[in-house]
């Protein structure tokens, strides 16, 4: 199996000398292609920091991160940006959309440069994905004219439109009600089944139970992990909760 992401003893410290927070403490992690991994941990344990470090959006202090065997450390800002645009997709807790564009333009924005020659193809593709995500018909609306759940689904459409190798999510369902949440997790599962690697950060065991591997974080270190085989959902949730209470999370 291919290692799509590999992090070797990464460290990240915030703040100045007398007021330091160790956000990542010697974290090593490796994720293979087509895995579906979630990271759990209490607030402030460094989950978001880890995600930003692995995607190259934030610089780390020491250690190294490889994506498909390429060291992020050796890339400059522009290469990193290109890399992100072509190979990665992101979904955050709150939708990050530009208010000056409508829904369809927002979704197509990062892919636009690559499809300049055949825009109609891009539009067709986007409409198809929007249909899968259940937000067909909203393409001409402003971002203030759709619900929070619809906007989040649009964010996911944007994140997966260019068919990234890996999808990062930081609490992607955090702002949604349980029904929307379920629908989005279904969408993730479908994407994973089609070959996409997914890394989610969450503190919700109902969310992490849908992934195939769960990593537990505490005070900037990776404490433990669970790997699922064919357990049913409720069993997985119980296993996760059990693990968390053991770890004191």
């Amino acid at each position: 199996m291919n290692k799509i992401i590999e992090a070797r003893s990464i460290n990240k410290v915030y703040g100045s000398e007398n007021n330091q927070t160790i956000a990542l403490n010697n974290v090593s992690i490796s994720i293979t292609t087509n895995e579906y991994v979630s990271v759990m941990g209490p607030s402030g344990s460094g989950k978001s920091t880890l995600l930003f470090a692995l995607s190259g959006m934030d610089r780390i202090d020491t250690g190294s991160v490889y994506i498909n065997g390429v060291s992020l450390h050796e890339m400059n800002e522009n290469n990193l940006a290109d890399f992100r645009r072509k190979k990665m997709g992101f979904v955050f807790q709150n939708p990050t959309m530009l208010p000056s564009l409508d829904i369809l333009d927002n979704i197509m924005l990062p892919s636009y440069e690559d499809y300049k020659k055949d825009k109609s193809e891009l539009i067709q593709k986007t409409l198809k994905i929007m249909k899968i995500a259940g937000i067909e018909g909203t393409e001409n609306r402003k971002i203030t004219e759709v619900s929070g759940g619809q906007l989040q689904r649009a964010s996911i459409c944007r994140a997966v439109l260019h068919n990234p190798e890996i999808l990062f999510g930081d609490e992607p369902t955090g702002a949604l009600n349980s029904k929307s949440s379920e629908e989005i997790l279904d969408l993730f599962e479908q994407l994973n089944n089609n070959g996409m690697t997914i890394l989610l950060v969450t503190h919700d065991s109902k969310v992490s139970a849908r992934s195939k591997r769960v990593l537990f974080m505490k005070d900037g270190t990776l404490e433990s992990e669970l790997i699922f085989q064919n357990e049913n959902l409720q069993t997985r949730i119980d296993l996760i909760n059990e693990k968390m209470s053991v770890l004191g999370i």
Binding site: S48, T49, D82, N94, L101, D105, M108, E113, T144
Partner: protein, 770 residues
């Protein structure tokens, strides 16, 4: 907690606070200075005109003069308080020797006078009446200030030596707008040099009441008295004296106005973005039931402190530096006796600025009332004036690169945010272009036609000579002359109304060659056509198509007015016609000519001067420069000042505005970054938008200059008798230099401001969101 918020704000926004501080300081400095200069100019001129007892009505006359008849007229006229006839000896510059060299200042009609007995005194620079001893001479002030002559120099006229004792302040002739200049000598010396020049009589009247000047003027003309020469009245004397400094005041006022506007925009800009930043805080404050008035009080306090200090400093600076602006006034009109009114006026200026700033801040803070706590907390941002445009979609356009599209889209969806910036750029281009347009217009060749002189190279005036050797043959046979026109200047009586007769200066000749600028209608062609100068037409209430009755050979003859032209010669009240009339003597003849290419004009003028010692010969370009030279210089100085000021301002505002913009947009920027847009690409987006704005603003600025700017400039220039003034812009400057300067300035500004885009981290603005 609230105090902390505002204190942090003061600390955090040093750049902004300092900018606002300096703008207010500058505004109060300029306005106070305007106050000081205006009060001083008015007071000094009044004092000077009072001390010199300037005449209310002055008729220059060359030729025979009937003293007795004039005495009788003056005694019997109900309006006259005092009367005198003062000789003025026109002497050719080449007959005036200064320290052994010929006097070079020949664009002016130089002449000699002795001190008058009753009024129209010539004063020294302490404003006391000069009584020169024999062998002493006092020279016109301009020659002192421009360094041509200094105290102790030796002036020789027809072998008689004079020692220069000082300068003459001359209420009528000090101004460069007046073409004559008076040298003052003792009466017995005057008699000795009398034979060198031609004597002209200044017939001067002091009236009981200044308001009766017009009535007196018509009674004078009706009496058919000596009138071979221009007429000058008190108001023209005052205007001529005030013009140069008046233009400075007008320009300073304009600058003050613009600086005030810009300060407001700056305050607005900072408050708007502050309030948007603090929107959530304010919402929370409201939601938990705290009183908004505390926030308002603290902000108000902040601006009160800033503006009190800056207005005070502005006032102090203006009091300290007004001397510089008063130099010219002091030199030409003398020290004003009381400084108190000026200080009051300056204080009023500073207080005015303070009040207006506070009113503005207060009005703005009242908008805080409209913030709804619910919406502020929920959305966290003011609905932000952002709206996506229905018709401007990324997917529907094929021309623009994505970066440029996004940049333009950003602006089109946030017009309100950009409004201030656009306004400042418009003002900047306006301030840069307007003075330059005025300058280039007045300095252009065509402008001479606004002055009532044809657009030729050389003008000759032969005073009162019908018996001149046949001028036409001489000019016709001169191989260097390309073309020329000879005009006859005659004085005609005309019917002011059914039974009143008045007199008018009429220039006869071919009006098609070297045409003047006709603001309405066209040049007279037929024998019964006549054209009037703008001032003449407006004082007679005549328009094109009206008729005018002249009296020629005791016969009334009707003329049709075909056109109205701009003229500032001969007091601005003239007429032109195409007929010829041998029955009446000419007051003078004038010639305008153009030379063939490569003719050495200076040498030509010298040889004419030798051949026609009586003629006045002007190189028209130099003539214009002499008349408008100081005005042009004021405008040029103002233009350069305006340009430097605007560019500095543009730079500062560009920096400030775009810094704020980046801070405001940091969320948008981090979204773009998380989507894989590079720093360069995001910077290009913002740059494209800004350059679009610059482009649009400059075009709007140009349009405003040519509409509002032209009307305002035309209004001032009209007071000199120049009607329907149209800009003759320096296209290279307007179309290339101005946009280039602004563009470079903005480009530098955004380059610095947009550097902060680079350091915005995606994680900081996306990660920690609630």
């Amino acid at each position: 907690m609230l105090k902390k918020i505002v204190l942090n704000d003061l600390k955090g926004s040093k750049l902004v606070s300092i900018t606002i501080f300096s703008f207010i300081l500058f505004a109060s400095f300029v306005l106070s200075t305007v106050g000081i200069v205006a009060v001083n100019l008015n007071a000094s001129i009044n004092l000077f005109l009072e001390k010199s007892k300037a005449p209310h009505f002055l008729q220059m006359h060359m030729g025979d003069f009937d003293n007795e008849r004039m005495d009788k007229f003056a005694q019997n006229n109900e309006y006259v308080l005092d009367y005198q006839a003062l000789p003025f000896l026109n002497v050719d510059s080449s007959d005036i020797i200064i320290n052994g060299e010929r006097f070079s200042e020949n664009s002016q009609d130089n002449g000699f006078s002795y001190q008058s007995e009753n009024f129209d005194f010539l004063l020294d620079i302490d404003n006391s009446i000069i009584y020169p001893k024999e062998g002493e001479i006092y020279v016109p002030l301009v020659y002192f200030t421009n360094g041509n002559i200094k105290t102790g120099d030796c002036i020789t006229v027809s072998g008689l030596n004079f020692i220069v004792k000082g300068a003459v302040r001359d209420s009528q002739m000090s101004s460069m707008l007046s073409s004559s200049k008076r040298f003052l000598v003792h009466q017995s010396d005057y008699e000795k040099i009398k034979h060198v020049g031609r004597e002209e009589i200044l017939i001067e009247f002091l009236l009981n009441n200044r308001s009766s000047i017009d009535l007196f003027q018509s009674s004078y003309f009706k009496a058919d008295l000596e009138s071979n020469g221009p007429t000058v009245t008190y108001s023209i004397i005052k205007l001529m004296n005030a013009l140069t400094d008046g233009i400075m005041i007008a320009i300073l006022s304009l600058i003050a106005f613009l600086v005030i506007v810009v300060s407001f925009l700056c305050i607005r800009l900072t408050l708007v973005s502050k309030i948007e930043d603090e929107y959530k805080t304010i919402g929370v404050v409201k939601a938990i039931g705290l009183r908004l008035s505390i926030i308002k009080r603290i902000y108000r306090g902040k601006y009160a402190i800033i503006s009190v200090i800056s207005c005070l400093l502005g006032l102090i600076f203006s009091l300290a530096f007004s001397g510089y602006f008063l130099q010219n006034i002091r030199m030409f009109f003398g020290e004003n006796e009381s400084t108190f009114p000026a200080v009051i006026c300056a204080l009023a200026g500073a207080v005015f600025i303070f009040l207006i700033v506070m009113l503005y801040v207060n009005r703005f803070l009242n908008k805080l009332k409209n913030i709804s706590p619910a919406r502020a907390i929920n959305k966290g941002v003011v609905s932000d004036n952002v709206s996506s445009l229905k018709s401007f979609k990324l997917r529907e356009q094929n021309i623009l690169p994505t970066d440029i599209f996004l940049g333009i889209n950003l602006i089109l969806t946030r017009k309100k945010t950009y409004f201030t910036f656009i306004l400042i750029l418009i003002i900047a281009s306006f301030v840069i272009i307007l003075p330059n347009n005025i300058y280039s217009s007045m300095a252009s060749d065509i402008f001479i036609t606004y002055m009532g002189i044809g657009n030729g190279q050389v003008m000759m005036i032969f005073p009162g000579m019908n018996d001149l050797i046949d001028l036409n043959t001489v000019l016709e046979n001169d191989p260097d002359i390309e073309e020329y026109v000879v005009y006859d200047n005659k004085s005609y009586e005309f019917m002011l109304n059914v039974n009143t007769v008045s007199k008018m200066w009429v220039t006869l000749g071919n009006q098609n060659k070297f045409p003047l600028l006709y603001t309405v209608g066209h040049a007279p062609q037929q024998n019964n056509d006549i054209a009037l100068s703008y001032l003449n037409a407006s004082s007679l209430g005549k328009k094109v198509g009206d008729s005018l009755t002249l009296i020629i050979e005791q016969q009334k003859k009707n003329f049709v007015i075909t056109g109205i032209y701009s003229d500032i010669t001969n007091g601005g009240k003239t007429a032109r016609a195409a007929f010829s009339d041998d029955s009446k003597d000419s007051l003078s003849k004038s010639v305008i000519m153009n030379f063939k290419k490569d003719t050495p004009i200076k040498e030509k003028i010298n040889s004419f001067e030798k051949n026609y010692p009586n003629a006045k010969i002007y190189h028209i370009e130099s003539y214009r420069d002499a008349v408008f030279g100081s005005t042009l210089n004021s405008i040029k100085t103002a233009g350069i000042t305006g340009m430097i000021l605007s560019i500095g301002l543009t730079f500062l505002i560009t920096l400030l505005f775009n810094n704020m913009l980046v801070v405001k947009d940091r969320r948008n920027i981090s979204i773009l970054k998380s989507l894989g847009f590079t720093y360069k690409s995001i910077r290009n987006q913002y740059t494209a938008g800004t350059l679009l704005i610059v482009f649009v603003s400059i075009i709007i600025g140009m349009i405003l200059v040519n509409t509002i700017g032209q009307s305002v400039a035309g209004f001032f220039i009209q007071s000199m008798g120049i009607a329907n003034f149209k800009f003759i812009p320096d296209l290279g400057f307007v179309l290339f230099i101005t946009p280039f300067c602004i563009l470079i300035t903005v480009f530098l500004g955004i380059n610095i401001a947009y550097r902060s885009i680079k350091i915005i981290k995606v994680s900081d603005y996306i990660k920690g969101e609630v």
